[in-house]
Amino acid sequence: MSSSHHVILRVVSKTLIPVIALYAFYVQFHGDYGPGGGFQAGVILAVAVILYALVFGVPSAMRAVPPAFTRTLAAFGVLLYSGVGFWALIRGGNFLEYGALFNEAPGGHKGQHIGILLIELGVLCGVSGAMLTIFYSFAGRVAEIRDEDW
């Protein structure tokens, strides 16, 4: 897409993309109190990159967020999630038993908070990585979106 047109789209999305990414992190870390969580935040974060790809072209998006990074991110998310499970297993609890993470007394909530924070982070990485991988595999088939396709 040449830079001579779509000026309004470019300007508007330039201001919107950081806000969208910030909102994704708000949804992520505010999931304990409000609606949302790792899954929604992951999709919103992926959509921020996809909006960039739609306006500025897939190649420049791939330079900013390489496909190798997105698939590593997806795998890392699943590993982080199951890693918390194995951490609890090593500390003597059941798989994903957050109470066992810090060997705290019954009634303590530190393990729950840290455990849920970590697994939500895993969901965020897994979902945004997988969504971007899917988008790249579709968008990577077409070298450039022609204007008459819109």
Binding site: V58, Y81, I119, G126, A143
Partner: protein, 211 residues
């Protein structure tokens, strides 16, 4: 009659308005043949249903529907549309009969099933009396997390969420294995872009003027 309308006229109006809009969009999707318009309308359909979920107090579902249905799947459908033609082929008149019968029978069965559903927000419905109520009682002592949806998804049903994350991951990998990661087909254009940014601005202007 006044009992039905009492106190919730506005809510009922919003419900009727949203559901009839959903109906209109659904009919439009079925009637249209331009794939681009269908993709956009399906995004609109997701957005409208997200608004409707907010009206019936299912905020988390609405959030997911807006992010995934209106945002993500619209984009993926757009990408899929770019790989095929722009117009759907018209079907023969007789071939439309089968789907119509299936839709009518399914719709009749669903409407018949709604007769047995408990009233909306009924405190004695199975959803509100069984396990859901237990979770609301024990959640704060167990986890200390204010949002019960998060604690159920992350803590009580942590195995399920791990499975879901794995499903999303496997879906991403499966699409990439079918279609490729997308970088190889773009390698040439990336290299070309790098070259143009490296070369002088004069050249870029010239090549743009040509195209």
């Amino acid at each position: 009659m006044s009992e039905v309308l009492d106190g919730s006229v506005g809510l009922a109006t919003v419900n009727i308005l949203l559901l009839s809009l959903l109906f209109v969009v659904g009919i439009a999707i079925a009637r249209l043949r331009s794939l681009f318009a269908i993709v956009m309308l399906s995004g609109l359909y997701s957005l409208l249903s997200a608004v409707w979920y907010v009206v019936v107090d299912a905020v988390d579902v609405a959030f997911t529907e807006a992010a995934v249905g209106a945002g993500m799947s619209t984009v993926v459908l757009l990408g899929a549309m770019l790989l095929t033609s722009r117009m759907a082929k018209p079907e023969k008149r007789l071939a439309r009969l089968g789907p119509l019968v299936v839709v009518l029978v399914t719709g009749a069965m669903l409407i018949y099933a709604t007769v047995d559903l408990p009233a909306f927000g009924d405190p004695n419905s199975p959803v509100n009396t069984g396990v859901g109520y237990e979770y609301l009682l024990v959640n704060w002592n167990d986890t200390g997390i204010a949002n019960v949806v998060t604690s159920v998804l992350g803590s009580y049903r942590g195995f399920d969420t791990l499975g879901e994350t794995t499903v999303v991951f496997v879906a991403g990998i499966a699409v990439a294995m079918l279609l490729g990661f997308g970088e190889r087909s773009l390698a040439e254009s990336i290299r070309k872009d790098d070259k143009t940014t490296k070369s002088s601005a004069k050249n870029t202007v010239k090549s743009e003027g040509k195209s």
